[in-house]
């Protein structure tokens, strides 16, 4: 094993084979950057900001939107991510509805306050990506703290939930400025993900886990049946995937590639990639009889998924169609069961 820095400066322990993959991915990212610059030259500066199909009925806009979707699935160059993510996700729009000084005012107003959320945040700062030189530095940790604390006051019903630290940490690495990271976190929790994913009973998280299990049964039937026969609850793997949006599970560039499509296509892609990871290991998992082996195989595979395109191919070509409408239908179906489960719990506690 050797220790290297990946594309985004995270320290990773890899074998020689994986180190070569990381290098290849770096080259591919540079190449992708060139393609985007060329398009910029032919279509005009920041053409991608003006081509969402629903905003315009023009043929060119529609064509550009399709081309943009395909381009994004191939990956946004790291230098362009801040600008494109802000736009695609709706974060830029969200920010434009409040006074310019909103974030600064919020940070100033809550600076010296202590709450359950701030206490938990303080416990987690040095446990969030200690493998990243800036995030593990005092400056990085204080920045992450400001973003998380500010958000905990913006929505005190959510406050702070573990998992958000990894999401905000990776957002800071991408977005560079803390205010942009804050707005990305806000748009994720308020618009992109199912609401109440992180709230005080993790209602949304419970829903998504149940929806995922149903999709697994549909799209990966043999594996779902195998898990059932083993009495293996797949949430053991996937809770972390859905709460950290893969940031704690997959290598940094692979996670960011998933977020590229997450912000453009919506939360359905989380299911696509969760299914994709399991599908890629399906043949290996089917003969396994022990949960510990199974968990290890999947976790090792995820940790070593340095080449995003391998996973993308399976997630988009082998998982089948998946629309936001289908996901919403499944979500609605699971609501009564989750509500009953959580209500049962609060009754027992009281």
């Amino acid at each position: 094993m050797i220790q290297i820095r990946d594309l985004h400066c995270f320290t990773v322990d890899v074998c020689a084979e994986d180190a070569a993959v990381v290098e290849r991915v770096k080259d591919r990212v540079r190449e992708r950057g060139r393609q985007w610059w060329e398009l910029e030259a032919s279509k005009g500066a920041a053409w991608y900001l003006h081509c969402q199909a629903q905003q315009s009925l023009s043929f060119i806009a529609a064509f550009n939107a399709i081309q943009l979707r395909m381009l994004i699935r191939k990956g946004i160059p790291p230098q362009l991510r801040p600008r494109i993510w802000l736009f695609l996700s709706g974060a830029a729009k969200k920010r434009s509805t409040v006074p310019h000084s909103y974030y600064k005012d919020l940070v100033d107003a809550v600076r010296d306050k202590t709450t359950a959320a701030t206490r938990q945040i303080d416990h987690d700062l040095d446990r969030t990506f200690p493998t990243h030189p800036w995030l593990s530095s005092p400056a990085g940790q204080q920045t992450l703290r400001r973003v998380l604390v500010a958000y905990s006051f913006r929505d005190s019903r959510v406050g702070y939930c573990q998992g958000m630290n990894f999401v905000a940490g990776l957002l800071l690495v991408v977005m560079k400025t803390e205010e942009d990271a804050f707005w990305m976190l806000a748009v994720l929790l308020e618009n992109v993900l199912l609401s109440d994913t992180y709230s005080d009973n993790l209602y949304g998280c419970h829903i998504e886990q149940r929806v995922f299990k149903e999709l697994l049964r549909k799209k990966c039937t043999r594996l779902a049946l195998h898990f059932e026969a083993m009495d293996f609850d797949v949430s053991l793997l996937t809770t972390e995937w859905f709460l950290c949006l893969f940031a704690k599970t997959l290598p940094s560039e692979t996670t960011m590639r998933i977020w590229d499509v997450l912000f453009n296509e919506g939360a359905k892609v989380l299911f696509r990639f969760a299914l994709g990871i399991l599908k890629m290991k399906e043949e290996e998992l089917l003969p396994m009889k022990h949960a510990d082996e199974l968990v290890k195989v999947v976790q090792d595979f995820a940790r070593r998924s340095f080449d995003p395109d391998v996973l993308f191919k399976v997630a988009f070509d082998k998982v089948g169609s998946m629309t936001m409408q289908t996901i919403d239908k499944h979500r609605r179906k699971q609501q009564p069961a989750v509500m009953a489960e959580l209500a049962g719990r609060s009754q027992r506690i009281m």
Partner: protein
């Protein structure tokens, strides 16, 4: 069938008993670190556990070959809605606090013991109280005496440990398992368990067989 009957083959090893053990307690007290020290004898600054994690450990104690599935749970309060289903069928629960943080100790009484009462399905489930991080003795906020008093009051075993320096980590798990082995209902239950080791659920446990009378 995975993790089901006693004395089946596990990765080529035979075992006499399969026990399910749960680690609970506030966020950051060192549950994952204790587990990592016990299963891999290493110490690392670990990231917070999101949801539930588990590790397997084979050990021999008092001539018995044992297979332990040890469940490590997220400590933040809201995660209890995800972790409570994992109490089912556990023969042992390790309640961990950080000796340098008093609130993690008081929360065991206010919160975590209640969770055990509500969700544990084994009446005789063995409880072990562990005060972790004794390597930071100068910052100690909970005395050993208080730990002993708590354990006596609530019928727990008690140890102080340090996952960082290894102190008492092996002993924690050994003492717990020894006590489980001394409890006939738990041993009988571990033998009769056929299913539901790996699957959380809210339905009541299957009817116990004759071996698990209240004793």
């Amino acid at each position: 069938m995975a993790l089901s009957s006693s004395s089946s083959s596990v990765s080529g090893n035979e075992f006499d008993h399969l026990f399910k053990i749960l680690l609970i307690g506030d966020s950051g007290v060192g549950k994952s670190s204790l587990l990592l020290r016990f299963t891999a004898d290493t110490f690392d600054d670990l990231s917070p556990t999101i949801g539930v994690d588990f590790k397997l450990k084979l050990m021999t104690l008092e001539g018995k070959r044992l297979k332990l599935t040890i469940w490590d749970t997220a400590g933040q309060e809201r995660f209890r809605t995800l972790t409570s289903s994992y109490y089912r069928g556990a023969q042992g629960v390790i309640l961990v606090y950080d000796v340098t943080r008093r609130d993690t100790f008081t929360n065991l009484q206010d919160v975590w013991l209640k969770e055990v009462e509500l969700y544990s399905t084994n009446q005789d489930c063995v409880k072990l109280l562990v005060g972790n991080k004794v390597d930071r003795d100068s910052e100690r906020a909970v005395s050993q005496h208080e730990g002993i008093a708590f354990a006596r009051k609530y019928g727990c075993l008690f140890l102080e440990s340090s996952a960082k320096t290894r102190i008492n980590v092996q002993q924690c798990f050994e003492e717990l398992v020894r006590k489980i082995l001394e409890t006939p209902s738990l041993v009988a239950e571990a033998k009769s368990v056929k299913k539901n080791i790996l699957r959380p659920g809210n339905e009541p446990p299957p009817p116990e067989n004759a071996g698990s009378c209240a004793c």
